[in-house]
Amino acid sequence: MQTKALPAAGASNWWKYAAPNTFYPLAGRMIPWFAAAAAVLCALGLYVGFFVAPTDATQGEAYRIIFIHVPAAWMSMFIYLVMAFWAGVGLAFNTRLSAMMALALAPTGAIMTFIALWTGALWGRPTWGTYWVWDARLTSELILLFLYLGFMALQAAIEDPRRADRAGAVLALVGVVNIPIIYFSVQWWNTLHQGASVSLTKAPTMATTMLTGMLLMALGFWMYSIAASLARVRSIILERERRTEWVRSLA
């Protein structure tokens, strides 16, 4: 591996971290920071959410699940975009690490989608009287979970990692084009059927402490997602590069 260092003007060359063997130690150094930030932010967010934020006028104490539900739902959608972005970069520039990153993000995204659905069901029971309604948001979130599972199933079914990466990338990109179409069609379907009489739209004003708690939790979920996918990408790197000199020298 002879890489000539580019004569960058003063700054260090960030592109070198696109190589798995340089990214591996970098990720190892970053994980504790992100994990610690996740723990601190989530602890703060939960404290604000459960002890500081006032009881909701209409929903009572049950609304407090929002502090987990909403951040998880945000992350579930955002991670799909990030995953598709890395998959696209991997397909376009043939960088191994990008594809590994996409692969590492998928389980975290699927977990977030699952948490959002699960907490949504638990929230729906006391407030709407039912665990599940065929609401537009719930249904499209469920389809998002299927998209994640399909991506992971395709990756798992292909043994050659090169083909798995690139096939997964095509699927992620097709999925990302489809997500807005799915979302709007599901919304339209919902208004046509008039099935669910309950609305997800909450009271327009939200106490500042509620918002603070939610934002703290959202940041905590961000940090957790970054830490978890970095940890996962490290093990993927080790698995894929196990025949290289630098991995053997680690052992």
């Binding site: 389809i143 299927f146 199933a153 395709l154 083909r163 095509v170 069609s185 379907w189 046509l192």
Partner: protein, 222 residues
């Protein structure tokens, strides 16, 4: 350009004509699935009338999924697909020809037979015609999107189940708009908006998916 597409379509239609059982089985599957529903939910006419559009469309989705394996598998097995990848003609065009042929042998028969099913579910003339129109406009999307899944899973173990997992979530808008058109007509709202949106999606898919299929085929065969 048109000659290339026409040549591929003619070849695939000829192959389908030599193996008529494959084509007939897909159609038979479609009819059997629809027939099972009244046996499951009961023979109350009003209930059947209200579920018919969704049932026919879900069965059309499943029939399309089942027929997707055929799309590239035989060509892959006998090496024809490699020749297509090496050919001077653009691969997306060849792919478009194959998809068109697939639609002609699956989507078109399903559309035609749905007229009989509309009568069996007592939909009435107007909604039955809209059902046929929605299938005529929507089934090309099923073949186009399904081809992406078929190309990605080419030669994999358990490919059939995997295709359904990949492609069925992507079929959601087609199902909603197709069945919605019939329901809106039955409710007296008119299904034109649904059909136009479906046609828009079909055009969008015709333009974009052949490229995705071509990329997927190169990945799978390399």
């Amino acid at each position: 350009m048109i000659a290339t597409v026409a040549a591929v379509v003619r070849r695939d239609l000829l192959l389908a004509a030599r193996q008529r059982a494959d084509v007939a089985n897909t159609l038979l599957f479609f009819v059997v699935v629809v027939t099972l529903v009244p046996l499951g939910v009961g023979n109350e006419p009003n209930l059947l009338r209200s579920v018919a559009p969704g049932v026919v469309w879900v069965a059309a989705l499943l029939a399309a999924i089942l027929s997707l394996n055929r799309l590239f598998a035989a060509d892959f097995a006998d090496g024809t697909l490699e020749q297509m990848l090496l050919a001077a003609e653009p691969l997306p065009l060849i792919v478009l020809g194959k998809i068109a042929a697939h639609w002609l042998v699956t989507g078109v028969p399903v559309t035609v037979v749905s007229a009989v099913l509309g009568v069996m579910f007592d939909l009435g003339a107007g909604p039955t015609l809209v059902l046929m129109a929605s299938l005529a406009v929507g089934t090309p999307i099923l073949s186009l999107l399904g081809a992406v899944g078929a190309a990605l899973t080419l030669g994999l173990r358990g490919g059939g189940v995997l295709i359904s997992l990949l492609v069925l979530p992507l079929y959601v808008p087609v199902l909603i708009l197709g069945a919605g058109a019939v329901e809106a007509t039955a409710a007296g709202l008119g299904g034109a908006a649904h059909l136009l949106l479906l046609a828009g999606l079909a055009l969008f898919a015709v333009v974009l998916t052949p490229w995705a299929v071509a990329a997927a085929l190169r990945i799978s065969v390399e």
